[in-house]
Amino acid sequence: MREITYLQAITEAIDEEMARDPTVFIMGEDIRAWGAPLGEFKGLFEKYGGERVRDTAISETAMLGATAGAAAMGMRPIVHIMFSEFLGVCMSDIRCVLTKTRYMTGGKTKFPATIMSYSGAGVSAAGEHSACPYGWLMAIPGLKIVAPATPYDAKGLIKSAIREDNPVQVLYHIKLIFDRLTGEVPEEEYTIPIGVADIKREGSDVTVVAVGLMVHRALAAANKLQEKGISLEIVDLRSLAPIDKQTIINSVKKTGRLVIMDEEPKTESASSEIAAIVAEEAFDLLDAPIKRVCAPDTPIPFSPTLEKAWMPDEEDLIKAVTEIT
């Protein structure tokens, strides 16, 4: 099978959906000249023109409000809110307008909208351009969230997000773009359902739940631990909302042990919710305490040395696994 990069997979997904559905259009900053700063929309302006590939001002609240309004009228907007911390600029529009209006209209409206943002640290982008705001977004009823770890998942999940009749936040990891991650992606059409996790590696001793870049770090740790005779099962959630509880619980049923690896400050992170789900719904399956491998409760630092210390890595995961095996 052919291999393409994570970035190419993102572009392909959007290109294919724009080709098949004339209601799909994009709004974003730097879309026309650059195809967005990392080039994920590159070539689309030339192919689809300025009506459907709309260069915006730096104006996140107008962009998000316009996304909601256009979606309510039957369009399928994709809005690029560049770095995930910028979601804070337009949070009322996400938290109230986009995700509550269907409910507050008694189901008379729907909002098929896709918000795309970079997430993640590892490229020394410092405090305002490095976040994985998973927990923050998961606390919004009405929002679906996907965070792909591979080119295959990126393409399939973004296509599903665009076809979804509800707002979906796509968080794609900046370091996976910078590292030019490649992976097998078929030429043929496919989608990946939102809300379905994927077991990236089967194992028997400890379940590790992760998304995005952390999936790769967990896989690296699994290789090292295999040499010591410890077998990790890596559950890539792929979607943070809705969360695939059953896949997590089924894995814990097999292993009896759970470590959650999450690139966020620990407090109120995705890991908090996952730990709570397992503690609440599968406590009897656990043979050891749940462990969380997260970032410290600090802003994200700039210097590579500090940033490396801040980010959870395979050594942190190995330490946590060792403590419960």
Binding site: G65, G69, A72, Y103, G107, K108, E164
Partner: protein, 327 residues
């Protein structure tokens, strides 16, 4: 501009429907029969009526916390008051199944997308509606009703800039009652004419007496025609005044008695009635009959609401997500 007699009388009836609807809501809210909070538009009816009398069913409006008048006026008098009253009572038969209440009352079936309680979000939402109309090449227009309190939000600037830059079919109609809750707009804004703001967006900015329904109608007609032709947005200020407090229960002691008295004198409903009688479009007797008919309609709407069941507890879980998707 000549408006047919029948339409003039319809507009009068719309204003009466808004007023009597809200008078009854005020009464029932004070009696503890309506949950939550209500913000009434008494005194501002000519704005909603004059604008909406120009709109088609498929034109879309977005509204505010003070939005009863907009939805009542949107498609005219055939639209039943009963599901709206039921909504305010929190009933299952409410237009939004009891999930909106007074502040978010809406009905997309008649082109009222939503009423927003966070200032400016209705505006940016309407920008998206107008963008969709442009992309789909319909000749629909979007109208967003805002209050003067929205003028100093960032969203006002961002939304109007986007609408202007993209020449979208949007009318931003500001009902300037000069009070943003309890704060006088001119105490927090260094402007005499708020339409000066339109200059910054390079779009027409027009002030109109918002208590004169025919003046509002004319100004809105031009702006809507302009938008439909693809010539871009217009900002309209309707100079109006609020007969009641910001919300029911607000004693509005921050306003002088003189201002309140002047507001009462400007009441758009007696004013339009007098005008219609002068124009010989209506007699006193006919006008009284309209009031009686509307009162009866409202009494029946309240009865419908009272007779309706409350939503079932399990309804709390519905309407979060749409099912299905694009195949």
């Amino acid at each position: 501009m000549a408006i047919e007699k029948e339409k003039l009388i319809d507009m009068y009836r719309t204003m009466v429907r808004i007023r009597l609807f809200e008078d009854k809501i005020a009464e029932d809210f004070a009696a503890g029969k309506i949950p939550g909070f209500v913000h009434l538009s008494a005194g501002q009816e000519a704005n909603a009526t004059g604008v909406c009398a120009n709109l088609r069913v498929d034109d879309i409006i977005t509204s505010t916390h003070r939005g009863h008048g907009h939805i009542i006026a949107k498609v005219g008098n055939q639209y039943s008051l009963a599901p709206m009253v039921a909504e305010l009572y929190g009933k299952k038969t409410g237009v939004n199944k009891g999930k909106a209440g007074s502040q978010h009352l809406s009905d997309l079936d008649i082109g009222v997308l939503v009423a927003e309680g966070i200032q400016g979000t209705a505006l940016t939402l309407a920008v998206g509606v107008a963008l969709a109309a442009k992309l789909k090449a319909t000749d629909q227009v979007a109208v967003t009703f805002i209050g003067d309190g929205t003028l100093n939000t960032g969203r006002f600037h961002e939304g109007m800039n986007m609408a202007s830059a993209w020449k979208l079919p949007l009318i931003c109609y500001c009902e300037n009652n000069i009070w943003a809750e309890s704060t006088n707009i001119y105490h927090v804004t260094n402007l005499t004419n708020i339409t000066d703001r339109a200059v910054a967006f390079n779009i027409p900015g027009i002030s109109v007496d918002g208590n004169d329904v025919l003046a509002v109608y004319e100004v809105a007609a031009k702006a809507i025609a302009r938008a439909r032709k693809g010539e871009g947005p217009t900002f309209i200020e309707g100079k109006t005044c609020r007969l009641r407090g910001h919300f029911e229960g607000d004693t509005h002691l921050y306003r002088s008695q003189k201002e309140k008295d002047e507001c009462r004198k400007r009441d758009p409903i007696p004013r339009f009635r007098k005008k219609l009688i002068e124009m010989k479009a209506l007699t006193d007797k006919e006008a009284d009959k309209i009031h009686q008919e509307v009162q009866k309609e409202m009494d029946e709407a309240v009865k419908f609401a009272l007779d309706s069941p409350f939503p079932d507890p399990e309804d709390v879980l519905t309407d979060v997500f749409a099912q299905g998707g694009k195949k």
